[in-house]
Symmetry: D2
Subunit: 292 residues, 4 copies
């Protein structure tokens, strides 16, 4: 199971009082992604506010997503728990409910050293047969993993088979490609770096953008893969400002505001996260008007 293409990230809709997950609305967000021709769905990533869910909410979202997608495309479940014990617990649950891939990041309070990270990944790998996507995102997770170290984990840890790189440094991808002789699949996790990541050999692009702009990310992916470089450049620059905006404004807040603007009210993000303020909402409205 290696992923390729567009990996779509749904947000997690909440009830009006912000106190519970609204699964019905989650289904509608998944419908939006499917219509946008994503090649896989990844629940409980950054966009899904996984860090802000209780254990039972997390499990509801995971289970609902797998059932709702129902095998039409692969389902990735994000695991970013602070303790190894809880990460193992969540990974086992993902396996039990029939998910296809675990996306595992070393979210941490302390800076972890490489021995600690390695051992964390190994424990999760030993607990389920699911393939693991190593997810490097220091700006959210507080821990940075070098290409060399992630490839060492791919080598030594049975189920660790692919890498999602979100530092925003294209050189990391060049290193992964060169050091693995092109053999370890890597995915782009930095929206506004999609063009160069795909040109550098990324097998996929992990993004919440299809929640709002349909199959435009998929069109960009296809153009690069077909060698239509001028078309790819045009498609990328068309989306560029939007892609940068949803990252810099906070994915959950931005995508939820955008969905509301498009008639899909899914509630605000969970506090301390706040919805976009009015001026940001207007900027987003303007961008969507041009894009969609």
């Amino acid at each position: 199971m290696n992923l390729s293409g567009i990996i779509g990230y749904p947000v997690t809709p909440f009830s009006h009082d912000n106190k519970s997950v609204d699964l019905n609305k989650l289904g509608k967000v998944i419908d939006v992604l499917l219509k946008a021709k994503v090649d896989a769905i990844a629940a409980l990533g950054s966009a899904g506010e996984a860090a802000y869910l209780s254990e039972s909410e997390w499990k509801q979202v995971a289970e609902y997503t797998v059932k709702y997608v129902d095998g039409r495309i692969p389902v990735v479940i994000g695991v970013a728990q602070l303790t190894t014990e809880q990460a193992v617990n969540y990974a086992k649950y993902a396996y039990e409910i029939g998910a296809d891939v675990i996306m595992l990041s070393p979210f941490s309070y302390y800076k972890l050293n490489e021995q600690e990270i390695y051992s964390h990944y190994e424990s999760v790998s030993n607990s389920t047969p699911l393939p693991i996507m190593i997810y490097n995102n220091p700006s959210t997770c507080g821990v940075d993993m070098s290409p060399e170290f992630m490839l060492k984990m791919v080598d030594g840890i049975e189920n660790a088979t692919m890498i999602k790189e979100s530092t925003g440094d294209i050189q990391r991808m060049h290193k992964i490609y060169k050091l693995s002789k092109g053999k370890v699949p890597f995915l782009n996790g930095c929206n506004h770096m999609a063009l160069e990541a795909l040109n550098a050999g990324a097998s996929g692009w992990c993004t919440a953008a299809p929640c709002l702009i349909g199959d435009q990310p998929k069109q960009l992916f296809d153009a690069v893969k077909k060698g239509e470089s001028e078309k790819a450049k045009t498609l990328f620059y068309k989306q560029y400002e939007f892609l940068e905006f949803i990252v810099s404004s906070g994915l959950a807040a931005a995508v939820k505001s955008g969905l509301a603007l498009q008639g899909n009210e899914v509630g605000g993000p969970r506090k301390p996260l706040l919805p976009l303020n009015e001026s940001a909402k207007n900027r987003l409205k303007g961008m969507l008007a041009e894009l969609v």
Copy 2:
């Protein structure tokens, strides 16, 4: 209630299988701190692995600490929850059990903007009458707060009355001092910057060092406050390598290893954190032999 002097940070002892908190041993660690002449106890900070405890464990540690200290010195309770709802829940609990101060940091997965942080602090302040220490530690919490912004919170949020600065940048303290005309108390949270922080006007030093080196931090504090600058310099450089070591090795791992070396077995840190490796343990042993 403004804190001054040495604020001692206990580690949180675990059972042998790492699965539960060992409160008896926590009492012994608190005894070590009291013997080291600390002026307050701060449970559930970074050294206390608060981020890795379940809710019930967290509450046990908080309650036990307050009861065990029993009014001899003030008790600070660290609150670093990911959601505002949970931070409020924990802060209320701290108040109910009789804690004296809440140390509140904006631990986060997403980068929070200032509006989100402000609102988070305000919610906690509105939920209890306890004084709040604003705690800035971007390397663990993933969020950096400027002196200007923290002073704005002191101004506008009723219970926010003091600041713990842990960036390791002495200029932040100079800014706090100048901008507040010396009126807002600030505490040092960066061990190997203690000498300059105290000379710059810090009213206290938050540290787990007294778990291992007795009242030497207190002696340093006293020397600075008495203007014995040559003595202060000597005391500081004596402790310097040790202070830097426990920070760079991870406070919980280092202090727990040190306690074991001194005959106080308190278990290892919780995974993904690992105990010090042998070479680090030997380095620590050497440093303690010279210091204690």
Copy 3:
């Protein structure tokens, strides 16, 4: 005069005692570049050790280069003087001897503010009719210019017409492209970012690599421009390690060592710069054996 394609950077050969420039050998280096099918020659850039030349040496190199190239392709002359007066003096000289473009960077001891940089560029622009390439390379020049600011200079300063971006941050190029609506030409100055820069719309690639690996940079440029993306990727990764090596080892030292390995002895770099040490020389030898 807008440049496109491969802008080749010759090194500046010195005599054996390092005390004077060897113009004969410079001619041979230019021959190597012409044979490598470069589209322009840029003398007195970083690779040319311009910062380490006396005024008379600098003028010799500039004049010799223009005469030797003799109109076959455009000649760019790098100007990176510390004072505005000297930058104007050098720019005028470049014009007098018949150069085609001035590449101007704000080399500085102090951090310059934007007003100071603007005024520096304006003074040079007012002194000659030559087009100016704004060159941003904070790691050598100590000053960083944002895309917004450089575009402001293109707007307001008559002869400032194009930008060479060397920060290594692909987002800068995206910003230049978007903010100028694709109308301001920009060139890539970061060797190991060539693939993504060209895909992002760079009109050229400034590089000393053709001194050692022939027309492989030109082949990469052509492949991208023809939309042969798989071929471009293959060509890029073939050169990647080499491109990164010559940057991280210091361009002048690396290229001079490489030329000597290929039978073109051009002397060492000027002190404090030292030639590559033996292990680096051997690494380079191995890379060249695979590439050429």
Copy 4:
């Protein structure tokens, strides 16, 4: 010859047209420093715009300063030339004219490696018997030297006997002190870090502040050395805003504006440097009104 106390840095006055050095006015600036009770004079440092002087101007300033001071206090001459040959040339000149100490920094266009820096210092050391102050200021010189490396140079290079640290990171000073067991003298080169540097054991403070605020830096130095820590703190915070201002505004521009405000017209800085703008001048005026 080890320096201690306040090392005063004169600016270099220019004629009205900015084209030549005004030595008479330089004498007046030196008088101001002597009246401010500095313990040594350091000409041709950052404040002295040494990087922007021609060779003959540089030599005039060096010679004039030594003659004018005439043995009343030691004279340090800053050497920050791009080539080793020129650094040796300048160092020899400093010796010939009777200077007491050379302050040597590895100003560079390329990032130099440690072997290159070591060899640069060694060449200068071999060329004169004068003691060398190793000067680390990455923000102007583009090269950063670790405490470990600088101490290695003190060990291995005959005349390298002391260190001026200007990174603004107090930990560097702690490292120098600890690693050298307090035996290698170090001086503070970061104005707004003076209090902690002196408390950390710095033997001196290199500063242009006495050009404008008299003996207040000297008073601060004395208070720290006498252990009057409350007085030292008060004196430091009184100067703090001013010290930070002259650094962030550019030393030459700020000090020259300040001298003009106090009736000592010394011309503007040399382009590309510009004089302070009106609002900055007004801020400086306000600060000087409070301080002097």
